[in-house]
Symmetry: C2
Subunit: 243 residues, 2 copies
């Protein structure tokens, strides 16, 4: 059986992997991934073959994995967070049509939204949206529309890819759009390096977030109208009525 | 130190817990939870004290946990999925204000959205929303508004609590609302008993979903305009442009 596991390794530290993910990596011959993620797991899976490709070479990475599996190797394709949230599982299933002899199994993990939420407290207890600010594959107009409608619907919002070298003002633009429907005082949070060395977080208002610089290792959380700051935690209640 | 871990145990099977969650349960004296979830973990943590409360007694369950921690015990409050997604971490942090001597640590897990997505393929690869159809604590009008605006924004949508004895027609109502903005042919998926005995899934159109009965152990996925059926998988592409 030619088999590929597409594995979400969680935020980064070994402790936050699921047992299922650990067992898949233990049972495979070859671990394929983006260089940074392979470096995160390498020490825990000695004796495996490691193959890496740079960022944005996702199609090449998938083909590499399928070609190894075709040779009869059991392959694990690793992704940070969850393989199914801005991860590789979709592309693997799309390209898998060309490799009918290879079975693809997706193994979920803790994504940055829930990993970061746990660091901040409980910002995503109730209905929420995930929106990526990367316009590499999505027109910015589509992202704008989602930010506006999600804010109008009073969702808590978690932003992935809030910044990059080319997109240094996107978070500011996103905050301005959200402030068309959300109060400037909405409780927000940012978490940097979730589950990795140098993990830090900050709770601030939407207005303050607008003028905050974040990097690509940061996940951003915007509360709904009920979200509160309780001590050092960002907490969204379970609903709008009280018991 | 009086300590409570609020632990997301993932979909249900031991294999899908994170190492961090397993270590928290191993290191605690007392495990508190809803009866069904305690039964899921009991066999793996022999020798612990187990305390349970019935469904909907969430406040009582939290107070029970804090009172045990006050006595000096290390307590784990367990939730299915992720503790921060329709889970107990928010209420624990709210009630924690009354117990300043007790430290609360939230440990994330695999939530039904990403656990179920992995079963279906890759429905949540791109921007998505989580919406609960339970109107126990949220006015139905608010839920309607979210369904409409999320559909208008072309989000993939994952529905939690799609049905209960009292709310048997809510999924039908939700589908009718979503069809105001989404095509009847939108690719959808349902997963029952994610990561538990009797796990099953089905891929169908939004129109077919409208006339499908689901139970409270089912999680529902509605694709965006780009979502496809590939073989037996539900796959949302990474964006709207192609490489």
């Amino acid at each position: 059986m030619n088999k590929i596991y597409v594995v979400g390794i969680g935020p980064g530290e070994y402790e936050q992997m699921t047992l299922r993910a650990i067992h898949a990596l233990e049972n495979c011959d070859t671990i394929v991934g983006y260089t940074v993620y392979v470096d995160l797991v390498k020490e825990h899976f000695a004796g495996k073959e490691f193959l890496t490709t740079p960022m944005r070479k996702e199609v090449d990475r998938c083909i590499l994995a399928f070609e190894e599996a075709k040779k009869g190797k059991t392959v694990a394709m690793i992704c940070s967070g969850d393989a199914g949230v801005y991860g590789m599982s979709g592309l693997m299933l799309e390209l898998g049509e060309n490799y009918p002899e290879v079975q693809v199994e997706v193994i979920p993990g803790v994504t940055a939204a829930t990993g970061g939420a746990a660091v901040l407290g409980a910002p995503l207890i109730h209905d929420f949206c995930l929106i990526s600010l990367s316009d590499l594959l999505t027109p910015w107009e589509k992202i704008e529309k989602r930010l506006l409608l999600a804010s109008e619907a009073d969702f808590a919002i978690c932003l992935y890819n809030p910044s990059s070298k080319k997109r240094h003002d996107y978070l500011k633009k996103a905050c301005d759009l959200m402030m068309q429907h959300k109060s400037q005082e909405t409780v927000c949070g940012i978490v940097k390096n979730i589950g990795r060395e140098g993990e830090t977080y900050q709770i601030l208002t939407l207005k303050e977030l607008r003028d905050t610089e974040v990097d690509m290792f940061t996940t951003v959380f915007i509360g709904n109208s009920q979200t509160q700051r309780i001590g050092n935690a960002m907490v969204t209640p379970r609903g709008y009525r009280h018991d």
